[in-house]
């Protein structure tokens, strides 16, 4: 593949992925509204388009045309920069997420369903998400409002706390697959054991890690039951109290983009990525992995919404105690046990071979 | 495609000098603390650069140790800053010169 082809394909892939991501974000909002409505025995959006399917579009138009208020005492540079930071980091982490396997793109050669693959892909995702906290923190501080400040403080404290257990929960997976490249991690989960159970990490010794990851991910994305930073009963709207119109929309997009990223990561690390039954004609076979991947991500998105409208909110000290006193030790224990089993298996090949 | 290693070292030296200058001229204790981090980063760059020159990963390992120490230092240092701020209600180092809390 020539360098120009590489650049062109990369550009196409980038545009496509960003488009898909933004669409997914928009329809996540629709999904949220629809599901919450049904949980509460309502209809949800129905007016715009069939089943309210065009509602996200209408929302977007509304955000753009609303008045963009800037309060007089805010620290303006950061007030403006904060939502941009949030949304940029939220979207850019999608760059290393693989959506599927190799596909042949006509005469130009084959390519991978991923913008780029890095040896340290997982670390890049973690790094970019860890930078996302600045958007929230700076928004809270720059707004020069006590609700915002408290929200920002809570958000940043909560995010860097749960980042620890989130990161540690992934180490088990890394030990199992021996790589930081997301593509190789997924490849390591191919196949089945006992003939029918897929060799996904969630079934493959990392069940505890999966739940740790899930819980930490909820906290990372400030979702219920960990939505303390924007707890409307305490802090009005938390760090984005003073934001309106498109700036608010950026935070909104950042939150849902983060959810999508986290869901993608969970899919890749624990649910076998694009692995799934493949059948049908060649064109279908080429698209099946993407379908399976999207299905799993959709499952996670649904789970997000389901949990949000089901569980009550934690108290802040409970949240911190849970993160540091329960999740962190569990994650460490998981690492120790996993490492022990892997090491023993390297020594004695038959050790716990059914796992 | 090759550039002299001394470019990296110059950059590292510049960052270090900026750190020292920050320590000398800044008044805010947190900014001074950040200047220290800047110095550490400058040193880290030289570690990585020398690792490239000698083709030995040990230089990169040292970066990790520097980071760990920096993390510990940040945790304790910021806690101290908070404690100082509670009693002094100022972050200006020129006013925190009583040699006691």
């Amino acid at each position: 593949m020539s360098i120009t082809a590489f650049i062109i394909i990369s550009l196409i892939k980038s545009v496509a992925v960003v488009f898909v991501l933004l669409t997914a974000v928009a329809y996540s909002v629709w999904l949220e509204r629809k599901v919450s409505a049904h949980i509460q025995n309502r209809w949800g959006p129905t007016r715009v388009g069939p089943f309210g399917l065009l509602q996200p579009l209408a929302d977007g138009v509304k955000f753009i045309f609303k008045e963009d208020l800037t309060q007089p005492y805010v620290y303006k540079p950061l007030y403006i920069a904060a939502p941009i930071i949030a949304v940029v980091f939220a979207i850019s982490s999608i760059a290393v997420i693989p959506f599927g396997t190799w596909v042949t793109v006509g005469p130009w050669g084959t390519t991978f369903m991923q913008i780029t693959d890095l040896n340290i892909g997982l670390l890049v995702v973690l790094g970019i998400t860890s930078m996302g906290v600045y958007g929230v923190a700076l928004a809270g501080w720059a707004s020069n409002s006590k609700y915002s400040l408290l929200g920002g403080l809570r958000a940043s404290a909560q995010m860097i706390s749960y980042e620890v257990s989130l990161g540690l929960s992934l180490v088990g997976v890394l030990i199992m697959s021996g790589s930081l490249s997301l593509r190789e991690i997924v490849d390591a989960q191919g196949g089945r054991f006992w003939g029918f159970i897929p060799r996904w990490n969630i079934f493959h010794g990392q069940t505890i890690a999966f739940f740790i990851y899930l819980i930490s991910a909820y906290a990372e994305t400030n979702r219920t039951p960990f939505d303390l930073p924007e707890a409307e009963s305490e802090l009005v709207a938390g760090y984005h109290t003073e934001y309106s119109a498109m700036k608010f929309a950026m935070f909104f997009m950042a939150e849902y983009a983060n959810m999508v990223t986290v869901a993608c990561l969970a899919t890749l690390l624990f649910l076998g990525g694009w692995h799934g039954p493949i059948f049908g004609p060649p064109i279908l076979q080429a698209l099946m992995p993407v379908f399976w991947f999207c299905l799993k991500v959709f499952f996670f998105m649904f789970l997000y919404v389901w949990v949000r409208w089901t569980l009550p909110r934690f108290r802040y000290d409970q949240l911190m105690a849970f993160g540091w006193k329960v999740l962190l030790p569990l994650a460490v224990a998981n690492i120790v046990v996993t490492a022990l089993i892997v090491a023993l298996r390297a020594q004695y090949p038959g050790f716990l071979s059914f796992l | 495609m090759n550039i002299p290693l001394s470019y990296y070292l110059l950059l590292s030296g510049f960052l270090f000098v900026c750190g020292v200058a920050g320590f000398l001229i800044k008044r805010n204790i947190i900014t001074i603390f950040m200047s220290i981090e800047l110095m550490l980063n400058g040193v880290n760059l030289s570690f990585v650069a020398f690792a490239a020159q000698w083709h030995s990963l040990s230089g990169q390992i040292f970066v990790f140790f520097v980071m760990v120490v920096a993390a510990a230092e940040a945790a304790v240092g910021l806690a101290i800053i908070i404690a100082v701020y509670r009693t002094r209600e100022t972050l200006n180092v020129d006013q925190v010169n009583l040699l006691k809390l």
Binding site: - | V20, R27, D94, N97
Partner: protein
């Protein structure tokens, strides 16, 4: 040499007793303390007896290496014990007399508050004395040497609340240190020349050396230095001054340590090192002269003393002089023989004197006694036997040993013999003087008055001491045993049995004796014996004349003698002389030179000036420590620039 695994038990047993009483005695009952002290001491005595039974003149020495101690290059010193005929005699004397005095102490010290302390110290003393006696090398001997010094110090100052006792303890300790100084240097010389301190090694190395007849070599130096040590420990001129003062201690202590055992350690050490001395004739001569002079000198002082214990103390010094005289003329076995008999009768004398003091309520001044034979017949009888023994009346113990010494001394030079005979006469005189003043005539003591008692040890208070009384049987028992020993103890010397027993030890010394034996004939020996017996009788007669027949006469004689009497009564002003010669210059020198000059002028000044200099500099420099963080950073940056400049300069150069 044969190993004997029981040797180390001998010293350890009293040490165990000392430890038990010392650590737990404060809370224990007196009976328990007594039981512990007597059990361990008695066990040591029985063990010694048991070992002695299997030991004959022909036996090879026993030894036992307990543990390694110093291993430094080729030089090594171990905790090892050694038993030959010489140590066996000492061993039996120490444990036997020591055990008797332990029993006696129980009665004597029963009412004292520090009973447990006393018994513990006594046991401790036994431990160190046995270490000294059983040592296989000079360093072990030195441990024992210093240890008995410590025990002596503790016991002299036993009633440490009394200033005189505390001072006497210090005096004994310090004077002994002077002697130890010589001893230590002798040890260093031995290490330098022989590379070892083990007796067998050293003596084997010395044996082939020629006698240093012309001039003085290192053997003479070693001998003289050893003699300095011995003079300190055994109270010889010029270091005898501590022994009379040591009478401040309880009387059993005087009996055990300052008469029977510890003070003879010097004699033992000289006898032990006889091989060295025999090859250093000048050193031998010095030993003989010192011993002879001490014997005469101390005896004359003894004439004028009125304190019963002081008389005995000077008598001890005098008798020790005899022993050194014996060693000095090469009659080591005679010296050891006298050491043994002296342990019996002098121990007995002290114990009897203690019984007297006990009986009259703590009074020690003989002028306030008299007529006590009616009150305490047993004491009178036993003390009489001891007096006869020390005076050299045949066939009691003292006669045999003293006569042996005089005979051997005559073989060396008639001067020694003459002085020895004069001393024997004086000894006889002051001993019978003591007897007459104490036991004959009428009781001159008044109503009990504790204030005039020298020996104000705690047991004057509870007892009514209106009448002098006989002591309890706990105290009289040892008196009787020792009296029997004083009676018959000398008979072991009959026919030179004792001498032959010690022959394996003093083999080399025998040559000297043979020559002595050849010069004098058998008849001459009897003549000399007759002379010494007659001077003893003469002394007795003179004492009877002055103190029993005409009691007014001594005062008149004293008056007519005037200054001479006062000089004798005041011990020739030796203490005062020492005070002027040594103590005062030392104190003055210490005060003006060391204290004001060196300490204040140099050391303190250095410290103070450097401190004030540091303060002045710090006063200036402390402004650098302003507390301002950025100032510190400035200094660091400037210093960093200097370092970088240096490194660049070094790199470019």
């Amino acid at each position: 040499m044969t190993p004997n695994p029981y040797l180390w038990l001998l010293p350890i047993l009293p040490l165990a007793g000392a430890a038990i009483n010392g650590f737990f005695g404060r809370k224990s009952s007196r009976k328990a303390i007594t039981a512990v002290a007597l059990t361990f001491c008695g066990a040591a005595f029985l063990l010694a007896l048991w070992i002695a039974v299997g030991f004959s003149s022909a036996s090879a020495p026993y030894y036992f290496d307990l543990a390694h101690w110093i291993r430094s290059g080729d030089f090594r010193v171990d905790f090892s014990f050694y038993l030959d005929q010489l140590s066996l005699v000492m061993l039996l004397v120490v444990t036997g007399v020591g055990f008797l005095i332990h029993i006696y102490s129980v009665g004597y010290m029963w009412d004292d508050d520090g009973f447990y302390r006393f018994m513990s110290y006594l046991n401790l003393f036994m431990f160190f004395m046995l270490t000294l006696v059983l040592a296989k090398n000079y360093l072990m001997m030195f441990i024992g040497w210093e240890g008995v010094g410590l025990a002596s110090y503790l016991l002299i100052g036993f009633w440490f609340t009394k200033d005189s006792a505390a001072a006497a303890g210090k005096k004994a300790f310090i004077v002994n240190r002077i002697g130890d100084f010589g001893f230590l240097i002798a040890l260093f010389l031995i290490i330098k020349h022989f590379g070892s301190l083990d007796f067998p090694t050293v003596f084997q190395a010395v044996a082939p050396l020629p006698s240093e007849t012309a001039g003085a070599g290192f053997l003479t130096a070693i001998g003289l230095l050893l003699m300095v040590g011995a003079a300190g420990k055994s109270a010889q001129i010029p270091l005898y001054v501590w022994l009379p003062d040591a009478m401040e201690g309880p009387t059993p202590v005087s009996a055990l340590i300052h008469a029977a055992t510890m003070v003879t350690a010097g004699v033992y050490m000289v006898a032990r090192s006889h091989i060295i001395f025999e090859r250093a004739p000048s050193a031998m001569t010095v030993v003989a002269i010192i011993g002879t002079l001490t014997a005469l000198f101390a005896a004359t002082i003894g004439i004028a003393q009125t304190d019963i214990k002081k008389v005995l103390a000077y008598s001890t010094v005098s008798q020790l002089g005899y022993m050194f005289m014996a060693c000095g003329v090469g009659a080591f076995s005679a010296g050891i023989f006298h050491l043994m008999t002296h342990a019996f009768f002098k121990g007995l004398l002290f114990l009897a004197a203690g019984s007297v003091i006990h009986g009259v309520g703590g009074e020690q001044d003989m002028r306030k006694m008299g007529g006590l034979r009616h009150f305490m017949p047993w004491t009178f009888a036993t003390m009489g036997i001891a007096t006869l023994a020390i005076a050299g009346i045949p066939p009691l113990a003292g006669f045999w040993s003293k006569d042996e010494i005089l005979w051997q001394a005559f073989g060396q030079s008639w001067v020694y013999w003459l002085i020895g005979v004069i001393t024997a006469f004086i000894t006889s005189f002051y001993m019978f003087r003591l007897m007459y003043m104490t036991f004959a005539g009428d009781y001159r003591g008044g109503a009990p008055d504790n204030s005039h008692g020298h020996d104000a040890h705690g047991h004057g208070d509870g007892h009514g001491h209106g009448e002098p009384h006989e002591s309890s049987w706990v105290m009289l028992g040892p008196l009787v045993v020792l009296a029997v020993l004083s009676l018959v103890g000398g008979l072991v010397g009959y026919g030179n049995h004792f001498e032959h027993f010690l022959d394996p030890v003093f083999q080399a010394g025998k040559a000297v004796q043979e020559t002595a034996g050849e010069t004098g004939s058998r008849s001459l020996e009897f003549v000399l014996m007759g002379i010494s017996i007659s001077v003893a009788g003469l002394g007795w007669f003179l004492a009877w004349l002055l103190y029993s027949n005409r009691p007014k006469l001594p005062a008149r004689i004293a008056e007519s003698l005037g200054g001479l009497y006062r000089a004798v009564a005041n011990k020739y002003y030796i203490d005062e002389l020492y005070a002027v010669l040594f103590v005062k210059p030392l104190i003055d020198g210490s005060t003006s030179i060391l204290w004001h000059g060196v300490d204040q002028g140099v050391i303190d000044a250095t410290v103070n000036n450097s401190a004030s200099a540091a303060r002045d500099i710090s006063d200036e420099v402390r402004h650098m420590q302003s507390g301002n963080l950025r100032s510190y950073a400035g200094w660091v940056a400037a210093g960093g620039a200097v370092v970088i400049a240096y490194m660049v300069w070094m790199g470019v150069r």
